[in-house]
C-alpha cells in the first residue's frame, strides 16, 4: 500500500518561494512549486516553516540497556526527534557495554519497536571498554554496528591503540575515538586554566587531548585506519587534524555543540551542569573550534547527549557525573551562534547533516528519490528548555529557561511523522 504525505508551503533555507514535497513509500517522490494538486493521504501545512534534512548525530547516549533511571531508547529517541534528528548513533557505553552481538541486537530490536528514528549502534572497540582486549569487531559489524569507539575512555596504552587500529584497518572498520591521555588527565574535571586556578578545581591540561591527538594521527597514518576523532575541545587539535589531512591521513573529526557555545567560565559558580568530558576550555579554543567547523576541518557537530537522573548532578562539582542533556537544544544553540555571526548557517547545516552522514555511510539530503527524513522548523520562533518542554529524562539542559531560537514543528523519518507540534 502506498502511503503518501504532502508538505505544502515550506521553504528551503535562504529561499523565498514556498514549495511542496510529495512523499511516498518513505521516499521523496517530488519537490516543487506545483504539487498542491497531487493526491495525498496526509497534508502538512508548513507555511512559514523551513525545511531541513533530518539531522545525523554521531555521538548520543541512549542509556539502554542498563541505565533506565537516566533514559531509555524510547525516551531519548523521542527527544532526538524533537531536536530534528532522524539518525542517531548509540554510544556503546551502556550496561552491559555494547561489545557483543547480543547487545547490538537488543539495541536494534528495542529501537525497531520503540523508536521513530534510525538508531545505529556504535560498537565497543575493546571488551567492556577496558582499553585492554579487542572486542569482536567483525562480529559486531555483522550484527549492525556502524563504527567502533571506546566511549570517553582511553586505551590502556599506545600498543593496544596501534593493534586496535591495525585490526580495524584489516576489515575496513571506522574507529571513532575521543582523544585522551589518561595519565595527563588524571582525576581532573575542569580545563586547567584560569577558572581552575582561581577555584581550585582539578585540571585537565590541554596536552591531555593534544598529545593523544598527535599519537592517534601518527598511528592512523602508519596503520592506514579510517579514524574519526570525537569531541575535540582544543584549538591545537584542530590545527593538527588539518595538517594530518593535508598530508593524506584519512581522518575526520567532530565537536560537541556545547564546546562551541561555552567556555571554562561556565564552571565559575561550580555549576555541575557544565561538568563535561572533555572539559569546556578557553575562549581561544572555542574560537578555533568554530573556525574548524566553518572551514570543514571539523566534519560534524555532535550532541554528545548524556541524559542523567537528577541525583547524578546533585553533589559537589568534582563528584558529579559528566554530561549535558543536549539533543533537543543542539540546533537552537547553533542558530544562536549563527545570529551572533560566529558561524554560518551553511556550515551549521553541513555539520549536522552531510558531514556526519558521510562518516557512517549514510545520506542526508532533500532530493527526489532520497529517503524522506526531514525537519520542519520555525526559524523565527523561540522556545525555552524547561521540565515541561523537554522530552529527555535528563533535565540538565545546556541553556535552561532562556529563550532559544528555532522551534521544531514536525519531524518526518522514512515518510512517517515522528514528531508533531504540541
Amino acid at each position: 500500500m502506498s502511503k503518501t504525505l504532502r508538505i505544502d508551503g515550506a521553504r528551503l533555507p535562504g529561499q523565498e518561494s514556498p514549495l511542496s514535497v510529495l512523499v511516498s513509500d518513505g521516499r521523496i517522490k517530488a519537490v516543487g512549486a506545483e504539487l498542491t494538486g497531487a493526491e495525498a493521504v496526509q497534508v502538512i501545512d508548513a507555511a512559514g516553516l523551513t525545511l531541513m534534512p533530518g539531522f545525523v548525530d554521531l555521538c548520543c547516549n541512549l542509556r539502554e540497556p542498563g541505565n533506565g533511571q537516566k533514559g531509555n531508547i524510547a525516551s531519548e529517541t523521542r527527544a532526538a526527534a524533537r531536536g530534528g534528528y532522524t539518525t542517531v548513533c548509540a554510544s556503546p557505553d551502556t550496561s552491559p557495554v555494547n561489545d557483543s552481538g547480543a547487545v547490538t541486537h537488543l539495541v536494534r530490536d528495542v529501537a525497531r519497536a520503540r523508536s521513530g528514528i534510525r538508531v545505529l549502534p556504535i560498537g565497543a572497540a575493546t571488551r567492556g571498554l577496558s582499553g585492554e582486549l579487542l572486542s569482536d569487531m567483525v562480529g559486531l559489524k555483522a550484527a549492525g554496528c556502524v563504527a567502533f569507539s571506546n566511549g570517553s575512555r582511553a586505551m590502556a596504552n599506545a600498543r593496544i591503540l596501534r593493534r586496535c587500529m591495525a585490526y580495524a584497518r584489516t576489515f575496513d572498520l571506522t574507529l571513532m575515538l575521543q582523544p585522551l591521555n589518561q595519565a595527563l588527565a588524571a582525576d581532573g574535571y575542569a580545563h586547567d586554566g584560569r577558572v581552575a586556578a582561581r577555584l581550585g578545581l582539578l585540571g585537565v591540561p590541554e596536552v591531555a587531548e593534544t598529545a593523544a591527538v598527535m599519537e592517534m594521527l601518527l598511528l592512523a597514518e602508519e596503520t592506514g585506519v579510517r579514524l574519526h576523532l570525537g569531541q575535540l575541545s582544543c584549538g591545537r587539535s584542530v590545527a593538527m587534524v588539518a595538517e594530518a589531512r593535508a598530508r593524506g591521513v584519512t581522518v575526520s573529526a567532530d565537536v560537541a555543540m556545547h564546546q562551541l557555545l561555552f567556555t571554562e567560565e561556565a564552571l565559575s559558580g561550580f555549576d555541575s551542569r557544565y561538568h563535561v568530558v572533555p572539559p569546556l576550555r578557553s575562549e581561544a579554543d572555542r574560537k578555533a573550534l568554530l573556525e574548524g567547523v566553518e572551514s570543514g576541518v571539523i566534519d560534524a557537530i555532535v550532541s554528545q547527549h548524556q541524559p542523567h537522573d537528577s541525583a547524578a548532578k546533585q553533589a559537589p562539582l568534582g563528584v558529579t557525573e559528566p554530561g549535558l542533556s543536549t539533543v533537543e537544544s543542539v540546533f537552537s544553540m547553533g542558530l544562536t551562534l549563527v545570529r551572533r555571526g560566529e558561524l554560518s548557517f551553511a556550515a551549521l547545516t553541513r555539520a549536522l547533516t552531510t558531514g556526519p552522514a558521510s562518516i557512517i555511510g549514510q545520506r542526508s539530503e532533500i532530493a527526489e528519490g532520497a529517503e524522506a527524513s526531514l525537519g520542519l522548523w520555525d526559524l523565527n520562533g523561540e522556545w525555552r528548555a524547561r521540565p515541561d518542554t523537554i522530552r529527555s529524562v535528563g533535565q540538565h539542559v545546556p541553556v535552561p529557561n532562556e529563550p532559544l531560537p528555532g522551534v521544531l514543528r514536525w519531524t518526518i523519518h522514512g515518510g512517517e511523522v515522528v514528531c508533531r507540534p504540541d
Partner: protein, 347 residues
Amino acid sequence: MIPATDPVVLSAHDRASRNLQLTGDGQLRHFITLDGLDLVMLTDILDTADSFIEVGERTIKKVPLLRGRTVVNLFFESSTRTRSTFELAAKRLSADVLNLDISTSATSKGETLSDTLLNLEAMASDMFVVRHSQSGAPHFIAESVTPGVAIINAGDGRHAHPTQAMLDMLTIRQNKGSFEGLRVAIVGDILHSRVARSQIRALQTLGVAEVRLIAPGTLLPADAESLGCTIEYDMRRGMADLDVVIMLRLQKERMEGALLPSEREFYRLYGLDTEKLALAKPDCIVMHPGPINRGVEIESAVADGPQSVILNQVTNGIAIRMAVMSMAMSGQVADRAARVRAQEADQ
C-alpha cells in the same frame, strides 16, 4: 604587581558569589568564599573580630549572640584544630554545638550528601560549619540543599578557607597597622592550597602593594599569572623587600606524585631559614597556617623566633570565627524575616 588602586569591576563569578553570600541589603548570610566580598565587608569582619578578642580575655568568655541557635560542625574531612576553634567560637557565642564527623558515619552507609543535610536541617539547625574534600561543596549546599541554613566554609578542597585567610589578615593588621604598601609572599604548595587561594583574594581586596607566589612550577596552578600575583621560582630573590612571608604546609604525599624529589631538596630551595629570612625587610613577619613541619618548610629557629607570629594566628582564629558566625547568623535571621514578610504580602 597588584593593581590595587584600579576600580573594582566585578566579574560574573564575583557577582554570583556576592549574591549567594549577602542578603538583599548587603549583610553576610553565608561565609563561603572571599570572592565577591568588598573592602568594606572584609574590614567589618576584622573590626568585629577585634571586638571579640576582648571577650577571650575575660574570666567569663561568653556573649549571648547565638543563644538558642544550633550550630552543626560538619566535617567531611578530619580536622582537629579548625574544628576545635569553630567549636570554641560557637560556644563563646552561647550556641548549642553538634559535632558530626561525617567521614565515618552517614555517607559511608550510602546516604547522599543532600539527604544527610536535609535530615540535619530538619533538626532545626541554624548554621552548618562545613569542611569537605571537594572544591565547591559549601556552594552546592548553600545553593541547592539547605538555603535557609547559614553555611560557614571551614575549608573546601583546593578552593577556599576563608576564615583562615581572615585570621591571617587580622594578624597582619595587628602587626603592620594597615595593608597599604605591603609586599606579601606566599611560599610553597600553592597548587593544592585552599588557604593560599583565600589569602590571595583577601590581600588583593584589602589593597596590599604586591602578592608574590614563591614555588616550583610543579606546585603552582596552570595559568597562575591569571591570579594577579607575581610569580617567583627563586626564593632568595623572592625574599627582597618583603613585609610578610606566609609559609604553607607541605603534605608528605607530594613526593609520591613526582611533584617534588625530596623534602631535603624542598627545604634547601623553599624552606624558610634564618639566612633566607635575613634577605627580607628587617621587620618582616613570618606566618604559617599550621600545623608546621619543622625542617621541611621552616627552620625551628625561625618558627620560634622574634619575627614569627604563628601563635597569634591561633588566638585570632577564635575571634574571626566568632565574628563571621555572629554576622552570618544575624544576616540569616534578617533573611528569614524578609521571607516571612514577603509571604504575608502575598496572602
